[in-house]
């Protein structure tokens, strides 16, 4: 249907935890240039899906392919190496390492990377994120919002094709949220693909070109935001909260 | 090999099992509630034994009372230690609480063990029996002390289980040890609760030490092996499960003794008895890194 390259494809993904089916036969394709908003009530399996699509969890059934290559079952660093980056719901930084070092780790983890070139790119991204002046601070000493930006920066160091952002707007100051939205848009213009999970409907609707809705482990809608918002099953899912 | 020998081994195994269970229950409680592995637990056991000995020697109390005194002394002593050393575990400023608990209890063990050598001397001491004499069943001889140890041990365990079912603090112990809920939700002062748990664990270890002293005598390093066995039991029985520890403790005691009975080379059998539990532990951890019944590792934060 679309000639855009397929970056990440999840096929028939099932993930169970004890008696709970967190992901129930989910199919999802993320194509180049997408800006997907992944939404759904609490407990609908969004974070689990991200974990599966980025290698942090192995699906019980189904496969994950990145650029047509099957990667499900391999550890997360393989996904990262293939251009799949993610942030975490609660920011997970290298707290007692400096901001700069946090950026250097993913940069230097790429094969054939040279230190000076990586450092240069790191400085560049830190400038882009307005964090350059904090380079020598320990990551744990940054404010919550700055930490979120740093996590984004860490993703960028992987030169990823697709970025999965898990609740980037959670608990974030409105002004910083604006900054985040702007950055995401700019990066998207530059050709990066995004999948953003959040409960902040307003922000999601502002940036998304495509909405995917999950409820109780299943994908119940996937398409243009306007259409999805009018979809009865979606309204029912949210109403049944 | 005769049935008699087997029977004796089995009986000994049961006694040892009860002792192991007492020690392991303490480790489990401390782990579930304070979220740290108490590397000094074996040395609390050792101190309990010595405490009872000196109470008998210098205060002339009968052995059973001495055991109770030892339990009380260790209960208080443990709480003091906990207040002194473990308070950083309750502050958010402390990082890597797991590691802190490991190193601090490790250091405590080192301190207690070496102090014991100086304070009590390196040579084994033997307190008087609880009830001197032996029981005979046909050809078999079982010392009274072993019977007393098993009986008292079982009584203490039963008392603990009753306590955990019927009293508020006991139920809180039970609840907090099984789930991640903090004591605050149960409506109890969290810090006092933790100290209490630590104290109970120590008291149980002290009882074990006092019970075992007339049978195996006291030495400053007597806690080293039981310590390791306690971890074996707790990991096999499930970190956080009191009843699991009890069952696993008894099972380990039995299996060790039966292993000794069946090991082909009698001269090596005894040495490898200790290795048996450890080997089982390693194998279990390799295949189930969270232990036999463990949930994902409980963390303080």
């Amino acid at each position: 249907m679309s000639e855009r390259a397929e970056l990440v494809r999840g096929v028939g993904l099932v993930k169970r935890f004890g008696g709970i089916v967190a992901n129930d036969a989910v199919d999802l394709v993320v194509a180049e240039g997408d800006l997907v908003g992944l939404i759904g009530p609490n407990g609908s399996g969004k974070t689990t899906l991200i974990n599966v699509l980025t290698g942090h969890l192995d699906p019980d059934v189904g496969e994950v392919m990145v650029r047509g290559q099957r990667v499900s079952g391999r550890p997360p660093h393989v996904y990262a190496g293939m251009g799949v980056a993610r942030t975490f719901q609660l920011t997970q930084l290298f707290g007692r390492m400096t901001v700069l070092e946090n950026m250097l780790v993913p940069g230097l983890a790429r094969p054939h990377s040279r230190w000076d070139e990586v450092a240069r790119r790191a400085r560049g991204y830190l400038e882009f994120l307005n964090l350059a002046h904090l380079g020598h601070l320990h990551a744990r000493n940054l404010s919550g919002g700055q930490q979120k930006l740093l996590e984004l920066g860490r993703c960028l160091m992987l030169e990823p094709a697709v970025l999965f952002l898990d609740e980037p707007f959670a608990g974030v100051h409105p002004r910083l949220r604006e900054e985040l939205i702007t950055r995401i848009r700019e990066l998207h213009q530059d050709g990066r693909t995004f999948v953003v999970v959040d409960h902040d409907m307003e922000s999601i609707l502002r940036i998304s070109r495509r909405l995917v809705v999950m409820a109780r482990g299943r994908k119940i809608a996937d398409g243009e935001p306007a259409a999805v918002r009018a979809d009865q099953t979606v309204l029912a899912a949210y109403a049944g909260l | 090999m005769s049935w008699d020998y087997l029977f004796v081994q089995a009986a000994n195994g049961a006694v040892i099992g009860v002792i192991y269970a007492l020690i392991a229950v303490g480790v489990t409680l401390i782990f579930s509630i304070l979220k740290i592995v108490n590397f000094a637990h074996g040395d609390l056991y050792m101190l309990g034994g010595y405490c009872a000995y000196y109470v008998i020697e210098y205060l002339g109390f009968p052995p059973l009372i001495a055991m109770v005194v030892a339990m009380g002394a260790l209960f208080v002593g443990a709480i003091v230690l906990e207040r002194l050393m473990l308070t950083p575990l309750y502050s958010d400023a402390t990082e890597r609480k797991d590691e802190y608990g490991l190193i601090v209890t490790f250091g405590l063990a080192y301190f207690l063990r070496n102090s014991a050598v100086i304070a009590f001397g390196p040579f084994p001491l033997k307190p008087p029996s609880f009830i001197p004499g032996v029981q005979r069943l046909g050809n078999l001889i079982v010392t009274n002390d072993r019977l007393v140890a098993a009986a008292v041990g079982i009584t203490l365990i039963a008392a603990l289980l009753y306590f955990m079912k019927r009293t508020i603090w006991g139920q809180a112990l039970d609840a907090v040890s099984q789930s991640r809920d903090s004591a605050a939700i149960v409506g109890i002062n969290a810090r006092r609760f933790n100290s209490f748990a630590f104290g109970i664990g120590a008291a149980l270890a002290a009882a074990a030490g006092a019970l075992v002293a007339p049978i195996f005598s006291l030495a400053p390093d007597m806690g080293v092996l039981p310590n390791i066995h306690a971890y074996v039991i707790v990991i096999l029985g499930g970190m956080g499960s009191v009843s699991g520890s009890i069952i696993a403790g008894i099972l380990l005691g039995e299996s060790e003794n039966l292993f000794t009975a069946f090991f082909p080379d009698p001269t090596r059998a005894f040495a490898y008895t200790n290795a048996f539990g450890v080997l089982v532990l390693m194998v279990v951890l390799i295949f189930r890194p969270q232990g036999l019944f463990g949930r994902r590792h409980l963390r303080m934060e």
Binding site: - | I103, G107, Y231, L285
Partner: protein, 325 residues
């Protein structure tokens, strides 16, 4: 000037070397043993301080290295250096194996597992005494035919220097960043492209290899190997030394080993009390100066060095471990 701490270390080292022949046999021995512990402390800090793997089997590896070397030399008649090399290889392999097996184990479980391994090794060595001579002690071939201990001093020095150089280079390279990232947040490290499993195994293999090197040297210096080399008391002593000095950096770890070993000797006249004393010192350090007692000194040195950094330094960005740790 940049790298001031390194220059200071070099000066201290040069002084030590120069003054060595002035020391009497007793102090030479103390210095040699201190350097033995120094290698153990540095390699353990690599594992526990940098990667965050609290292994209690480190001295067991020293024991394995020592026995392997001693036995191979005894049975096959190979030169001692070759035996020591074999000991190192054995420990690398076993250490890597342990690292692999422990991949999914978290903090306390890993500590308990390595403790269990250490006990099994000790029991096996003790019990199989027709092979290892058990508690009676295995006599080993000496590394040098020498009337004095001086060659051993220089050898220990060389080994320590090589070990620190090797580990130091590793720690200042990108690998050092990866190891620390693994300790900070394993999941985030993996998400950042760090092959966590590979590095955990590597760290175990390398650290254990160095422990085996120290053990091999020890075996052919002391002249007799006993199961006590790898027992829990030795491991506890190592933890005490490294944590008191500062387990998160190589120089403070080695410093801790030196200071504690020398103090233990100096305080010998106070008898057995020196051991519990260090236990208390450890507890106080953990409670009030968790980074280690030598760390502030080291950081001060680093700061002094950096205060005179000029504009040239910014050109090549080599991030150091942050002074504000």
């Amino acid at each position: 000037m940049r790298g001031l701490p390194v220059y200071v270390l070099l000066v201290v080292a040069a002084l030590l070397l120069a003054g060595a022949d002035r020391l009497n046999a007793y102090w030479l021995h103390v210095a040699i043993i201190a350097m033995y512990y120094g290698i153990l402390a540095a390699s353990w800090s690599l594992l526990a301080g940098y990667v965050g793997l609290f292994s209690l089997s480190h001295t067991a590896f020293a024991s394995i290295g020592g026995y392997t070397s001693a036995l191979l030399v005894k049975w096959l008649g190979i030169p001692v250096l070759l035996g020591m090399g074999a000991g190192v290889l054995m420990c690398c392999a076993l250490g890597g194996g342990i690292g692999w097996v422990c991949l999914r184990m978290s903090g306390p479980y890993l500590a308990i597992f390595t403790l269990a391994f250490s006990e099994i090794v000790r029991i096996a060595i003790s019990t199989e005494d027709d092979v290892t001579a058990g508690m009676a002690g295995l006599h080993t071939a000496p590394l040098f035919q020498s009337a004095t201990r001086l060659p051993y001093f220089y050898a220990a020095f060389a080994l320590l220097a090589v070990s620190l150089l090797g580990m130091g280079l590793m720690v200042r390279s990108r690998w050092g960043l990866f190891l620390r990232a693994i300790r900070e947040d394993e999941q985030a490290a993996s998400a950042s492209g760090v092959a966590v499993a590979r590095f955990r195994i590597l760290a175990f293999a390398i650290a254990s290899g160095f422990a085996g090197l120290a053990g091999g040297f020890y075996a052919h210096y002391i002249g007799i190997m006993t199961p006590g080399v790898g027992d829990l008391d030795e491991m506890a002593k190592l933890v005490v030394m490294t944590v008191i000095g500062g387990m998160e950096r190589l120089p403070t770890a080695v410093g801790g080993a030196f200071v504690v070993e020398v103090l233990l000797e100096v305080l010998r006249r106070y008898g057995q009390w020196r051991l519990p004393l260090f236990g208390v010192l450890l507890l106080l350090t953990m409670r009030f100066a968790r980074n280690g007692l030598l760390t502030p000194l080291w950081l001060q040195l680093v700061r002094l060095g950096e205060s005179r950094v000029g504009p040239l330094a910014a050109a090549r960005d080599v991030p150091q471990k942050d002074p504000a740790a």
